[in-house]
C-alpha cells in the first residue's frame, strides 16, 4: 500500500483515458504552451500534462481550451484514440 501511494500515476482517471488533439491544434495555430496557458488561465505545466494525456481537464477548462483554439470540445477531446491525420 505504501508503494502504491508513492507511484507516479497522476491521471485523474487511469482506467478510462481521455485522448486529445490539443498539441496538434495549438501547433497549427503557432501558439506556445505558455501562450495557450495564459489564454485559458492555467500554468504551462498543466497544458503539458493535458497534451500528454496525463491529466483530464474539468468541463470548464475543456471549454476554455476549445474556445481558445476555436474548436468544439468534441473535436479536441475523445474517449477513443483519434485516427492519424484527422483534425
Amino acid at each position: 500500500m505504501l508503494c502504491s501511494m508513492y507511484a507516479t500515476n497522476m491521471s485523474r482517471n487511469s482506467e478510462e483515458p481521455v485522448f486529445n488533439q490539443i498539441e496538434q491544434v495549438r501547433s497549427s495555430l503557432g501558439l506556445s504552451r505558455q501562450e495557450l496557458a495564459d489564454l485559458v488561465g492555467v500554468h504551462y505545466q498543466t497544458i503539458g500534462y493535458l497534451e500528454r494525456g496525463e491529466y483530464s481537464p474539468s468541463l470548464v477548462l475543456a471549454l476554455r481550451i476549445s474556445n481558445a483554439l476555436n474548436k468544439e470540445v468534441s473535436e479536441l477531446f475523445s474517449l477513443t484514440e483519434p485516427k492519424e491525420g484527422k483534425n
Binding site: 501511494m5 508513492y6 507511484a7 507516479t8 497522476m10 485523474r12 488561465g41 492555467v42 500554468h43 505545466q45 498543466t46 503539458g48 500534462y49 500528454r52 496525463e54 491529466y55 481537464p57 474539468s58 477548462l61
Partner: protein, 182 residues
C-alpha cells in the same frame, strides 16, 4: 494582481513570493525542477531528518562517537547538530523551490491541476505522518523496557525537531517525488 502583497498567515506564504515560484521568475533554480534532482533533494531531506532524530540517541549508542561528559565531545556534538539542522532546513527550502511552492500555496493562486496534486500530496502526507506517530508511540511505550530511550538529561528535543521537520516537509517531499517532468 493587487498592488499590496497579500499575506496568507495560515500558510506562511505571501502572494508575490508564491507567484514568483509558480511563474519560474528566477531561472537560476531551473536545474532543481527535473524529477531526478527533485528526488535527490527528497532523499537528502529524509537523511537530514533522520540525522536530526538520531541526535536524541547518538550519545547512548554504544559505538563510542560522543561522550557528553567530555567537554570537547559535547561541543563537537552540539555544533554538528546545529549544522545538520541548518542543512536540513536548507534542503527544505530547495524542496519548496523545486515544487514551485505548490504544496504551500492557497487555492486562488493555483490552477485546477495544481490544486488536485497539492491535495493528493497532503492526503498521502497525512497517512505517512499517521504511520510515523504510531511508530513514535510504540517507541514511547516499549522503548524504556527495551532500553532504547534517551539517557538521563536528554529530553528528546532533537527527536521533536525531526518530527516537526517531517510534518512540515512531507507534502513537498511527496509532491517532489511524484510529479513527472514536462
Amino acid at each position: 494582481m493587487s498592488k499590496k502583497n497579500k499575506i496568507y498567515w495560515s500558510l506562511g506564504v505571501t502572494e508575490k513570493g508564491t507567484r514568483a515560484l509558480l511563474t519560474d521568475e528566477n531561472s537560476k533554480f531551473k536545474w532543481l525542477r527535473s524529477q531526478r534532482n527533485r528526488r535527490l533533494i527528497v532523499i537528502l531531506e529524509m537523511f537530514g531528518i533522520l540525522a536530526v532524530a538520531l541526535g536524541s540517541y547518538l550519545p547512548i549508542l554504544e559505538i563510542g562517537i560522543f561522550n557528553l561528559d567530555n567537554g570537547t565531545d559535547l561541543i563537537i556534538f552540539s555544533v554538528s547538530a546545529i549544522w545538520v539542522i541548518l542543512l536540513t532546513l536548507g534542503c527544505y527550502s530547495l524542496l519548496r523551490i523545486a515544487v514551485r511552492g505548490i504544496a504551500d500555496a492557497p487555492d486562488e493562486l493555483l490552477d485546477e491541476r495544481q490544486i488536485q496534486v497539492r491535495d493528493t500530496s497532503f492526503r498521502y502526507a497525512y497517512l505517512s505522518m499517521g504511520y510515523l506517530v504510531i511508530a513514535l508511540l510504540l517507541l514511547m511505550f516499549f522503548g524504556p523496557e527495551l532500553q532504547l530511550f534517551q539517557p538521563e538529561g536528554n529530553d528528546g528535543s532533537y527527536l521533536m525537531i525531526a518530527t516537526l521537520f517531517a510534518f512540515a516537509s512531507a507534502p513537498s517531499m511527496i509532491l517532489a517525488w511524484r510529479e513527472k517532468d514536462i
